[in-house]
Symmetry: C2
Subunit: 535 residues, 2 copies
């Protein structure tokens, strides 16, 4: 078998797995949108079968043979080529998949399904002790998973050495070279969401961020200026909200001939593949910002999915880079663009036409309201500044939970203590504390950091785009409702590369600098100065 033949078969197999997963995505979207209630059991069976088939294909030893036949060949000699990137990432995924015993995969699926149910009940009843044994079981299994992945890491690294990958394809964040440090168990879990990133890197970046953020948020809290959030809580009829939000999503470039907006209990974006990306939201007739910024957020994800290189669909070169980069696209449109004054210079007159209830509101008051910074207990309701402290808190706790340094029984106390340190507030209950998120119940340790990485990447991409395109020109475009130059910049620098580079290197190539908290902090400072008179 020639390397070219092996590569062609690898691609074919990768596309089959991707297609199976995209079928599952359609079924899951339908489950959230239109499926009748009684269809849940059947849907579970359908999705489980597709997942089993995809897993079987992904772990077929034939993939290992094909990878071996192409690695080290001339075909992947150029580390920057699509072929090299595909082989690198397929090796990465394959090694991870085959390192997990089938028994563990099944037990994780079974346990996390039941743990999610237990979590729903425990949160409703504010009953942490009821959730505790489930969290312990999930943690034990995730520890086992991380250990299994890490034990085989040497092999995976060897595969990458064969490709003569330059060291900078790692996450490449702005800290001393971490390739030869002792890996943290957490790395193996983080890697699933943010390939190549490590706990040590995230820790360093988050430390830099908190150091600036905590005093800034305190200063804002002490400012005498208090935006009037009630202007967002007037009468906003749902049908008009939908029309208004769809118009904004279309304006920033979400293609409705290749996508849809529907209503679900929990908003999400699901890119099935080329030509079909679905976003969802939920409407609150007395809270304009919930659906509107939710739609901008999901449309940002959607723009990424819609602008991935279709010709590489089903291979790593055609998929998103990392969850952090994905989140950067949603946060960029939701916050960097959607909460900016130039954006509202365009949309505010339209808002007034659509919703008579805001006739007396000034654009200044409105922009202040959508940028209100105020510590609160619930992550998903947090503003763009305090949000990151919620993430720092979870990241630090999950590191200690994973190593066992923090026993699950002590989680509520540790949560409250850290919350006080970061926010200066004490959560009134576990429901508004460590029981608020679903993530740990489904085993998503390593997921939370990607939210804040997304904020940091977003700010850094935006700064680079303003530098490249001229900030004043960009703002002038926004005031006219023209978002095309920014979108094109993102298409070229962020979307089209897919997973050809790891997130750290992508950031370096797109912005000229490794990831750092600087641009985000600067962005928040400028807003705080403007809206709160705080420096």
């Amino acid at each position: 078998m020639t390397p070219a033949d092996a590569y062609a078969e690898l691609v074919r197999r990768s596309k089959e797995v991707a297609l199976l997963n995209s079928c599952s995505a359609v079924l899951q979207w339908d489950q959230q949108t239109y499926m009748p209630r009684a269809g849940a059991a059947l849907r579970g069976d359908q999705v489980a079968l597709l997942a089993a088939l995809a897993h079987e294909k992904a772990t077929d030893p034939r993939t290992g043979e094909l990878l071996a036949a192409v690695e080290g060949s001339q075909l992947v000699a150029d580390a920057g080529s699509v072929e090299a990137a595909n082989v690198r990432e397929l090796r990465h995924t394959y090694d991870r998949a085959v390192k997990l015993p089938k028994r563990l995969v099944e037990e994780l699926a079974r346990t996390t399904t039941r743990a999610q149910e237990a979590w729903v009940g425990a949160r409703t009843k504010n009953d942490f002790p009821a959730f505790r044994p489930w969290l312990e079981r999930v943690l034990a299994l995730k520890r086992e998973e991380a250990t299994a992945v890490q034990c085989g890491m040497r092999n995976a690294e060897r595969g990458m050495e064969n490709q003569k990958q330059p060291p900078d394809t790692g996450a490449g964040v702005d800290i001393p070279h971490s390739r030869f440090r002792t890996p943290h168990l957490y790395d193996a879990l983080l890697d699933e969401y943010e390939p190549g990133a490590t706990a040590a890197e995230v820790k360093e970046v988050f430390a830099g961020l908190s150091k600036e953020l905590v005093p800034l948020i305190r200063a804002i809290a002490e400012s005498s200026r208090k935006p009037d959030r009630s202007v967002l809580e007037r009468e906003y009829p749902v049908d008009r909200q939908k029309v208004f939000a769809e118009a904004a999503a279309a304006a920033i470039g979400f293609d409705f001939t290749a996508g849809r907006l529907d209503t679900t209990a929990h908003p999400f974006c699901s890119g099935f593949g080329p030509g079909d990306c679905r976003i969802t939201t939920r409407y609150n007739p007395r809270a304009f910002h919930e659906a509107f910024f939710g739609v901008l957020h999901e449309a940002g994800h959607g723009l990424y999915e819609q602008n991935l290189p279709a010709e590489h669909f089903g291979t790593p070169a055609g998929m998103y880079c990392s969850l952090g980069v994905h989140e950067s696209q949603s946060r960029l449109w939701e916050n960097q663009v959607g909460r900016s004054r130039p954006f509202w210079d365009h949309f505010f007159p339209r808002l007034k036409q659509t919703f008579p209830d805001v006739a007396d509101v000034t654009p200044e008051a409105f922009v202040a309201a959508v940028n209100d910074v105020r510590p609160s207990f619930i992550r998903v309701e947090a503003d763009e500044a305090t949000y990151n402290l919620h993430i720092v808190l979870r990241f630090e706790l999950e590191l200690d939970l994973l190593t066992g340094a923090l026993p699950v029984a002590d989680l509520p106390g540790a949560w409250a203590e850290k919350f006080r340190a970061l926010f200066g507030l004490t959560p009134p209950s576990d429901r508004e504390g460590c029981l608020q998120d679903i993530h740990w119940s489904f085993g998503g340790f390593g997921y939370f950091p990607t939210y804040t990485l997304g904020n940091l990447y977003a700010a850094q991409f935006m700064r680079a785009a303003r530098r490249d395109l001229g900030g004043a020109d960009l703002d002038a475009g926004f005031r006219r409702g023209d978002f095309a130059p920014l979108r094109r910049w993102l298409n070229e620098r962020v979307h089209q590369p897919g997973r050809r580079y790891r997130a750290g290197q992508l950031c370096l190539r797109a912005t000229g600098e490794p990831l750092s908290p600087g641009p985000f902090v600067t962005y928040l400072r400028e807003k705080a100065a403007d809206l709160y008179g705080v420096c």
Copy 2:
């Protein structure tokens, strides 16, 4: 391997194939309802992959080994048992599938896809010569398919002998025993839609039907009573039509917690499996009957799907008996119930409340309008009486097309000639003649007869239900909007048996008599006497 083990594995494999097909059904439903336009190519790839995986599983030689291990064993000794029926039908499907060369299956898929496109263009332009070469290609492939299936028939029959099937598990329609006649090539195609039925049987039943129907329709045409159809063509706002049709579907028993009604260009019913059955319709704001009877029709299909035995989902015992029996359920609710006077005694006052435009219409005039019998050129617009002549015409033509007795080039002429003989009218164009239906372009030879078999089964089921439950009681229930007794009778006699018996035997068990055109003709005669004064 014990027969019990083999049977358990057979069932497991059958369920996997069914689940894959049900995933495809969800994807296809989405394609017709909510999929954005640009998603078509991806959807084609997804559905093709699932179909290939299902086909691969269905033709796995392991199934043949398992069937051999269980056939002839004690487990299937009772021919009336679920086990025996499942093994009989799985053998039937397996033998058919493995007899078709992979090349032929692929060529059929490719050719019919292109032939359908050619048909769309040809129909639009009324250009039969453009479609002719495609129809010739499709016919040649279907002949090849029929020959391949028939050559192996002896094996399939042997499989059935092993189970000591009594002869009456065949279609069992009311003609001399046809088991040892020379099979018609058409039988192999008909068998896919109406398992066990033969061209000879259908021919005989249709001959009996036409003999009565042609003069009856002529007599109606000559009657001086002409219902005023224009009452159906007033203002019927679409949103109200939807509410009204949904209420009627719910009243006859369609379970909206386990199903939905959506809007599509072409109405259909798709039962994904237990707990999830979707029906669709299209609304014409100036034609009440189109959506309303369409919804009753699809809800009738849906009632069948929703009441199949869920515990046997994924095996023949849990699937519909035949397309003819499926169609009997839609026709029964659409026509036998939905166009009856007792039905409208209940719904007409509600209709008047909902649609102010019919305030001046009497129930008599309305019932006459929805029962108007009038020859027309388009099958899908035909009334319940003339509809069957459209089917007889297609059945006779496709028999001759398949054998080659009728060259494709002569189809338009033969169509026009037969149309004159049956309807006394000449189609003004091929678009209103042999180009009107999609079926032949997708290779659906043998499909058309199931529509009229459905009408005949419906009438025979209804007559038996009236006999068992008391016709006057049933009618009194309908007048109160109570359809539960009829539904329960159908659940027990028709839905719950699934495919345990072939259609002929199911009919015999449910009604005490083999299928005959008698009950349908009697039903039409009684209506004609009532509405047109014709006997």
